[in-house]
């Protein structure tokens, strides 16, 4: 049962991908989309069945990948509560987003390839969470990166989108190199990357080696989960269609880094230095994302920076050992962030592609359904009590309180900021005067509303999934409510009224700093990319030319050496015979005298 269920979980999306790819030309467009939804639903049902029926964890061997010398790699599936829970979440949220995309993408000519990539993504994500070795995980790890590349650049005819896709791929590759380095270390020490071997033998290594190995894993996680310093691809990745942002860049792929750290927590617990770095990077990213999100104007960019900030939360939680809290927040975040992105997609869809929140406003009445679900999402992300975000965030905050007061305070400040920018987003979009001109906003089709409704329910009650054991709920509850009321009120007074908000934009130094995302992209361009490309161009223009000149010089010298001998070969046979005769005579004379 379990074997069958797990193989079906993996096989459904893969078969869906191949079917849609091979039959893409023949199938009428909506059929390909429905096929994709059905395959993900099949995967969801199989994973869910296994989750409900299976009590113990197990490893299912599939086949040997390669065995060379001391190195061996096997494909096998690890079935335990973590991997099962992840697969159910991926296929569940992923399935809802699939259905939503049916409506969102229905006019696109390349609908079928969109769904093919979507299914492939779900497959690789499942490989990532289900494999029982780091090498198997690496397959999924790179695979989701590829799908992310394909989907960010889905509208590849626009130059900027193609650039964004390339940037995401290459930045991810930097992280992947770190991951690969950790894998090489594991292969070097144990000849395998199976979790069962690595986690048992891992602590036998010295702290230095373990630190290096976990650093590699951390770099991988930083790349995939868009942490400082490898985060710049995530905001640009919003170039993809909105369902892509919801599925890949909010709910599933970007949380893979958190999953990686949580999965290998045995190794991290043996490397305190790395754990410290994890906390540091996570907190820094949380602060950075929240700060930048305060002033952004693009509805998807605000959500992207908010994702970054929430990921920072999770990563830092994983860093100070709150693995279950981190995974809990990952789950609720998948619900409400997917909900927010899809609702934002509704808004964009309704406004025919408008993404600037200063050109929205007053949509509360035009898009009532969207407003309600967006409100639920907002309340969930800011941590308003009955909603799911409250429980998961407080689980992290409670652990942070136990770990270090400083971290706790910083994370609380981030929480305040996040509620401010979310309310700002809510008010600018749905309240105030309508600033979208002549457009006629309209709600999406039913296939777009049903997934939103389900996600809204999940975002509301998702907190019941896990109740933190050691709770500081009582004091936090009060504080949270006060903070929420304050920040919401401030946001309402600034952005919620019938004012021309464009005129009220402060143009201070700090604002410009935030608006330009602390100039990180520019700094990377100036300090790393630019000089590197200049160096390459310089080498290409000067050193290669120099080598070419060297070639020419050597060619010439060969010619000079050969020149006198060329004169001798004048082609006159008489000369040849004369020379030959003289030569023979010389020989004879030399021989006999």
């Amino acid at each position: 049962m379990m074997l069958f269920g797990m193989i079906a979980t993996l096989a459904f999306p893969l078969i869906g991908f191949f079917l849609i790819t091979l039959l893409g030309r023949v199938l009428p467009r909506p059929v390909g989309g429905w096929l994709a939804c059905v395959s993900v639903a099949g995967a969801f049902i199989s994973a869910g069945t296994v989750l409900l029926t299976c009590e113990s964890s197990a490893t299912i061997g599939l086949f040997n990948w390669f065995e060379v010398g001391n190195v061996s790699a096997h494909f096998s599936i690890l079935v335990d509560s973590l991997s099962l829970w992840m697969s159910v979440m991926i296929t569940g949220v992923g399935g809802l987003i699939h259905v939503y995309a049916l409506g969102y993408m229905k006019d696109d000519v390349r609908l079928n390839s969109f769904f093919a990539y979507f299914n492939l993504f779900v497959f690789f994500m499942l490989v990532l969470v289900l494999s029982d070795s780091f090498l198997g995980m690496f397959i999924g790890w790179e695979g989701v990166g590829l799908c992310s590349y394909l989907l960010i650049g889905f509208w590849y005819e626009t130059h900027a989108y193609a650039i964004a896709a390339k940037k995401a791929f290459v930045m991810n590759r930097i992280g992947d190199l770190g991951f690969l380095f950790a894998i090489l270390m594991m292969l070097f020490f144990w000849g395998t990357t199976q979790f069962s071997v690595v986690f048992i033998q891992g602590l036998g290594l010295g702290a230095g080696v373990l630190t290096a190995m976990t650093m590699g894993l951390l770099i991988g996680a930083v790349g995939k989960s868009a942490q400082i310093p490898l985060f710049t691809w995530l905001p640009d990745a919003m170039a993809g269609p909105t369902p892509v942002s919801a599925l890949i860049h909010a709910a599933t792929m970007v949380t893979a880094g958190v999953y990686l750290i949580a999965r290998s927590h045995v190794l991290f617990s043996g490397a305190p230095l790395t754990s410290l770095m994890v906390v540091g990077l996570g907190v820094a990213t949380a602060v950075f994302g929240a700060l930048v999100a305060l002033v952004q104007r693009d509805i998807k960019k605000v959500l992207a920076y908010s994702t970054m900030s929430q990921l920072g939360y999770m990563v830092s939680a994983a860093g100070f050992g709150a693995y279950s809290a981190a995974l809990f927040h990952m789950t609720t975040h998948a619900f409400f962030k997917a909900l927010l992105f899809l609702a934002a997609g509704n808004v964009i869809h309704g406004l025919h592609g408008e993404q600037d929140i200063f050109k929205m406003g007053g949509l509360r009445k035009k898009l009532p359904f969207t407003f309600v679900v967006f409100l639920i999402g907002t309340l969930a992300i800011v941590g308003c009590p009955p909603f799911s975000g409250f429980f998961s965030k407080d689980a992290i905050l409670a652990e942070a309180f136990a770990y270090s007061r400083t971290v706790f305070v910083v994370l609380c400040v981030v929480s305040v900021m996040s509620s401010f920018y979310m309310f700002r987003l809510l008010f600018l979009t749905f309240f105030g005067n309508a600033r979208y001109g002549e457009k006629h906003p309209h709600e999406g089709a039913l296939v777009m509303q049903i997934p939103l409704a389900i996600l809204a329910v999940l975002a509301t009650v998702g907190g019941c999934l896990d109740w933190p054991q050691e709770s500081i709920l009582t004091p936090v509850l009060g504080v949270t409510l006060v903070v929420l009321a304050l920040s919401g009120g401030v946001a309402y007074f600034i952005f919620g009224k019938q004012v021309d908000v464009l005129a009220k934009q402060p143009v201070s130094m700090g604002y410009r700093m935030l608006w330009n995302k602390f100039y990180v992209d520019e700094v990377y361009q100036r300090i790393i990319v630019g000089p590197f490309l200049s160096l390459s161009r310089g080498l290409n223009q000067y050193f290669e030319i120099f080598l070419g000149k060297l070639d020419v010089v050597s060619l010439r010298s060969v010619r000079w050496v050969g020149y006198p001998f060329k004169k001798m070969q004048d082609g006159n046979s008489g000369t040849y015979i004369l020379v030959m005769t003289v030569g023979i005579l010389c020989l004879l004379v030399g021989l006999f005298l």
């Binding site: 082609g571 046979s573 008489g574 015979i577 004369l578 005769t581």
Partner: protein
């Protein structure tokens, strides 16, 4: 003692050397293709003479068989050479080797 052996072998050597040198000088000096061909034949004949002489001297007749082969080859060579010359003469209306220098690659 055969008739051949009454003549000392040095004489054959000297005669052969003289004929060979005449042929060699001819090849080096003459520019007329026909003469050059004839001179080559002379060099060949000198060598053949030597072969026959020593075959008699050592009573080993395999050398005489070799001479027959050389004669056949020489005849073939003359035939081919003359044909080439006549073709070249038709083309260039000259039989001078220096005029045929453009044949070189």
């Amino acid at each position: 003692m055969t008739y051949l052996e009454t003549i000392p072998s040095e004489w054959y050597l000297i005669l052969s050397a003289i004929v060979f040198c005449i042929g060699l000088c001819g090849v080096l000096i003459r520019r007329n293709a026909m003469s050059v061909l004839m001179c080559i034949e002379m060099m060949l004949n000198a060598v053949m003479l030597l072969l026959v002489a020593f075959s008699g001297y050592y009573r080993d007749f395999s050398a005489q068989i070799a001479v027959f082969f050389i004669m056949i080859v020489a005849a073939a060579e003359v035939a081919v050479g003359l044909v080439i010359f006549s073709m070249m003469f038709k083309k260039t209306s000259s039989i001078d080797l220096d005029d045929w220098g453009h044949l070189k690659g």
